[in-house]
């Protein structure tokens, strides 16, 4: 995928250093790994789940353990943004702005596919100076058909029928999801599966973790849950 930068393997043991000297001593990190993130979405039976980790770091230092990466666009459409945190926040603000105007003009909510096209167009506008984010879009369509997709930082869409992953933990997430996923799971089972996949993957990635945040959306209700994993 276009946006996937080669990541330098970090030394396994790091003695804690102050933030000042860390900048001089740390090897050059990809901009996508500056804050650390893990986001995943899965399709179930007439429902979907979207989950993310909660760590916000500045390279090796953890700065927040309650950082929000999954945002609501409307009742049946959610957006997860991994990558550089500032770009994630700005992109979310711009998209909410566009969606609110759309709602006022067209007197309806945006369909997930339409929203995905909008995100893709917005990202490509900045083709030569991109937002360093990898979005995940998850929603319920017109007849409550679950829809998920992801794209790279310049808007190349990737639709999936089962699951999509992004963030610094994406490689582990791919593996965990591939082995744990099965189609047509009910909301409860979907919650279990996505939670296990997320927690086991972020444990293998030092830049993401500090718990998890899981959202399971069905046509009738939305369940938010906060997970406690290895708090490191």
């Amino acid at each position: 995928m276009l946006g996937h930068k080669p990541s330098l393997p970090l030394p396994p043991h790091r003695t804690p250093r102050s933030a000042v000297s860390a900048n001089l001593a740390t090897p050059a990190m990809s901009i996508f790994e500056y804050n650390g993130s893990a986001v995943v979405a899965m399709v179930g039976k007439n429902c979907f789940a979207i989950a993310s980790d909660r760590r916000l770091g500045v390279q090796l230092q953890t700065v927040a353990t309650d950082f929000q990466r999954v945002f609501k666009i409307h009742g049946k459409l959610y957006l997860g943004l991994s990558g550089l945190a500032t770009d994630a926040q700005t992109l979310y603000q711009r998209l909410v702005f566009k969606h609110k105007l759309y709602q006022l003009r067209e007197e309806r909510d945006m369909k997930p596919e339409t929203f995905a096209s909008l995100v893709s167009a917005l990202l490509y506008e900045k083709r030569f100076g991109p937002y360093f984010c990898q979005p995940i879009i998850a929603g319920l369509g017109e007849d409550n058909e679950p829809f998920i997709c992801t794209m790279d930082c310049i808007g190349a869409k990737e639709l999936a029928k089962d699951f999509v992953v992004s963030g610094t933990a994406s490689e582990s997430l791919y593996g965990a999801c591939e082995s744990m996923y099965k189609p047509n799971m009910e909301p409860e089972e979907l919650f279990e599966t996505i939670s296990q996949a997320l927690l086991s993957s972020v444990d293998r990635d030092c830049l993401s973790g500090w718990g998890g945040y899981v959202l399971v959306v069905t046509p009738t209700e939305v369940q938010e849950r906060v997970l406690k994993g290895r708090m490191d």
């Binding site: 003009r105 067209e106 369909k111 596919e113 339409t114 096209s117 909008l118 167009a121």
Partner: protein, 235 residues
């Protein structure tokens, strides 16, 4: 009377609260060839007279009814060249919408954007309003729709409407003939009869144009052969 002193600049209000240029634009529309539209339960029909200035003109080269998207068509009364400019702009806007959302533009949104363009030309320096009123017919997720857009940029949704030379007779005729649950083929017959009402000379398949959109959401301009069939049914 005092209004004429204020007709030099389009962007200046007259004391009676009018923009005189827009009034003149509406006059230009009112002296244009009659056009009309009828919204049926399962589609929309728009039609217009196609009176050519001379028998030497190749009538196949003139197309007064145009499509803006595969599921939206438009007809006008007034100045043909102004119409062509608006068609071009509207088509571009429809495509820009598609490029952004990968979704075909809803009829109301296209009407709104076209009307916004027409309004711009009533509030900018060095330009004049468009000398056309448009009848936009489309079929989207909200069903069949018919909108009229005026030179001022105001737009209205109609069940049936007419514009141009014979507007008052045509509207009276339509008011009598229109029913809520009309089928599209009935609407086409009614449209032909309405055109016939004020027609100077003999109506034929070559001097009227009809555009139709059904539940299949494909806007089509009827061929002269198809118009001939409908004309025969009416007689």
């Amino acid at each position: 009377m005092g209004d004429s002193q204020y007709s030099f600049s389009l962007t200046t209000f007259s004391p009676s609260g009018k923009l005189v240029q827009i009034e003149h634009a509406l006059t230009a529309v009112g002296s244009g060839q009659t056009s009309l539209g009828i919204k049926a339960a399962n589609g929309v029909v728009i039609a217009t007279e196609k009176k050519l200035p001379s028998i030497l003109v190749d009538e196949t080269s003139v197309q007064k009814i145009q499509s803006l998207t595969p599921n939206i068509g438009v007809v006008y009364s007034g100045m043909g060249p102004d119409f062509r400019v608006l068609v071009r702009k509207s088509r571009k806007q429809a495509q820009q919408y598609y490029r952004l959302y990968k979704e075909t533009i809803p009829v109301t949104q296209l009407v709104r954007e076209t009307a916004a363009v027409m309004q711009e030309f009533t509030q900018s320096g060095g330009v004049r309003p468009f000398g056309v009123s448009l009848l936009i017919a489309g079929y989207d997720d909200n069903g069949p729709q018919l909108y009229q857009v005026d030179p001022s940029g105001s737009y209205f949704s109609w069940k049936a409407s007419a514009m141009g030379k014979n507007v008052s007779n045509a509207k009276t005729f339509l008011e009598k003939r229109y029913t809520e649950d009309m089928e599209l083929d009935d609407a086409i017959h009614t449209a032909i009869l309405t055109l016939k009402e004020g027609f100077e000379g003999q109506i034929s398949a070559n001097n009227i144009e009809i555009g139709v959109i059904r539940a299949d959401r494909e806007f089509k301009v009827l061929t002269p052969a198809e118009i001939k069939d409908f004309l025969e049914e009416v007689e």
